[in-house]
Symmetry: C2
DNA sequence: TACTTTTGCTCAAACGATTGTGCATAATTA
DNA sequence: TAATTATGCACAATCGTTTGAGCAAAAGTA
């Protein structure tokens, strides 16, 4: 492990330059003789040489590393996302540094500082907060930034997200088709763009059906607890909603907990539709109807955009919305 | 961002050395005057200086980075583990590189090569495969290695894991207390130590109850599909087991799927107990009795051990088994 | 006044790679 | 044979930081 170009140079008698060129595959370009190549390669093999990437990074001013900032690494949705991103980056010979902002803007700033100090070649982020300024500056002056899942509507930062509006519309329309009129929605972080779009879809679909007066949006966090508490309150309302639309998988679990505690059954006593997809949702009783985000496609596209940007040394300004899938299960009662 | 010690040196008139010492908090130690400190700090502030960590790493031969290799980044169990490890490392000013071996030894070797080339200061790994040699060599010659979850019985590499044996015993005893005699077990990767220990616990508890003849172990993968297929077969056996013990959460989901397809109900027609804990298990119908691993404690201890090793420049040889929790729910029928 | 100690700072090497340029020698051509 | 071109390699600078050693000038002491 103490093997360097210099030690190989000494062993073989060739200069560090020559050794470097052979080992970095530039032998052809710099006309290194077959003989020299062979000797150098054999010595490198023998001593198990592994180039010091730190030194290379310093010299080339490239780290072959990307940064990934997520609001919650352990959330299954983001765990899936990171899994795909890590794999995609890896297939391009890049390493990923995953950081957790824990839904806090100050943590997020610390994450950014870490990534900038480590001179990553690009950043993929599901941002928290409402101010795009810091990412815009980085994107303009330093390294490319691609937003994923969450984005800033007023900014021209590139992003890949689900078509959250149509997801909201689809969810509500399916409820309306089943005769529901009194549909409540439990939201997550109010200021996040996906949340806003889903709410917009919900409201538009309700309005289209002439149900403006029944619009009811509660909650403020993408968490189980939020789902639980808000559902408790919803179940006490008069009239009680016949259906609940939860804007995340965690909120859905909280809602289920509250519904059970009230001794009620899904879908007989109340219907439920959720955003997000997780395999376990099919194993709940009943399986939950849901709006599934194309996580793998989103992750792959985000990486693709990032590398376009890195390799071209230009910024992209692509904004992509991928269509969600509606997965119909048995958590919605037909009231007609 | 093009700000370096050298540019600050030029602006302020102090040498690069002095600037470096002020900015790295060594002013006291090297008797830099208050006046000089102030000037340098102000200039650094003004131009928004951020040290080039790559250069620092090269010079100090430390990267303040640890590597984490997992068999499946998206598996909720490992997602939880990585979340805690990332946070713990971060609180010690370390960055984590997460890599996915995808349960393949050749991938695992590639991961190791990546981490060594990047000169991480230490490695935490839930290894796959049965050969500890490569990790032993790294641990001996290069950087400290701590195993987590999975480990090698014959090796003296340090590890933190669950007491999988007692977990197996507890699961089976609880079934036996409920009158079960015909208990099948669906395992994961046969060669992994946790799997072996769980099986050993299962067999010991069965034997203690005089049920050697009823011992039945099937399966070979920590996956939903394995759980599904093996359960299909188990349900066709004669006599059919009255209870199934699945060695992971994914296997449990597969078992549930097969049981449902057969038109059977848990626990009325068959009982189920699983290894691993996930919040959604409480929301299944019925909630699943399970052996919960202390993921957070394991992660924190693994990080603690790693840093002991890094900071002391010595290897630790601690081997820790943490007691699992038995979470009793309604997936087990009392046959008596 | 002369010597010692402290203060405040700089020099220059080092970490390990990459890379533009240059220089012999060998091979080719005229 | 002389001029030209091709071949094969090495020199030395560079990336931005850290750090042991050293050296004036200022302050303290005798």
């Amino acid at each position: 492990m103490k093997e360097t170009l210099s030690t190989i140079s000494q062993k073989t008698g060739f200069s560090v330059t020559t050794v470097s060129r052979v080992l970095s595959g530039q032998a052809e370009k710099y006309r290194i003789s077959e003989r020299a190549r062979k000797i150098v390669l054999e010595e490198a093999e023998r001593c198990n040489y592994s180039p010091n990437i730190i030194a290379r990074n310093l010299r080339t001013n490239k780290t072959n590393t990307i940064g990934l900032i997520l609001p919650s690494v352990s959330n299954p949705y983001f765990a899936d996302l990171s899994s795909v991103i890590i794999a995609e980056a890896n297939s391009r010979k890049y390493t990923t540094i995953v950081l957790d902002s824990m839904e806090s803007e100050s943590n997020q700033e610390a994450c950014i500082a870490t990534l900038m100090a480590r001179r990553v070649d690009g950043i993929i982020v599901a941002p928290c907060g409402t101010d795009p300024a810091i990412f815009e500056e980085i994107n303009k002056k330093h390294v490319p930034v691609i937003l994923v899942d969450r984005f800033y509507e007023e900014s021209d930062l590139p992003y890949v997200t689900t078509n959250n509006y149509s997801g909201g519309v689809e969810a509500i329309n399916s409820l309306i088709r089943n005769g529901h009129r009194n549909i409540a929605c439990i939201q997550g972080v109010k200021t996040s763009a996906p949340n806003k779009k889903r709410i917009a879809g919900y409201k538009a679909a309700m309005a289209d059906a002439g149900l403006e007066d029944n619009i009811l949006v509660v909650g403020n966090e993408f968490s189980l607890q939020n789902g639980y508490l808000e559902t408790k309150l919803l179940l006490n309302r008069n009239p009680r909603p016949t259906a609940i639309f939860t804007l995340s998988n965690t909120i859905a679990l909280g809602a289920i907990k509250a519904i059970r505690e009230a001794g009620m059954k899904i879908p007989d006593d109340i219907s439920l539709i959720a955003f997000d997809n997780n395999i376990y949702m099919d194993y709940l009783t009943p399986p939950i109807s849901r709006i599934s985000q194309p996580v793998e496609d989103m992750a792959k596209l985000a990486v693709k955009l990032l590398f376009e940007s890195i390799e071209s040394h230009n910024r992209v300004n692509t904004k992509l919305e991928l269509a969600p899938d509606f997965i119909s299960r048995e958590s919605v009662k037909n009231l007609e």
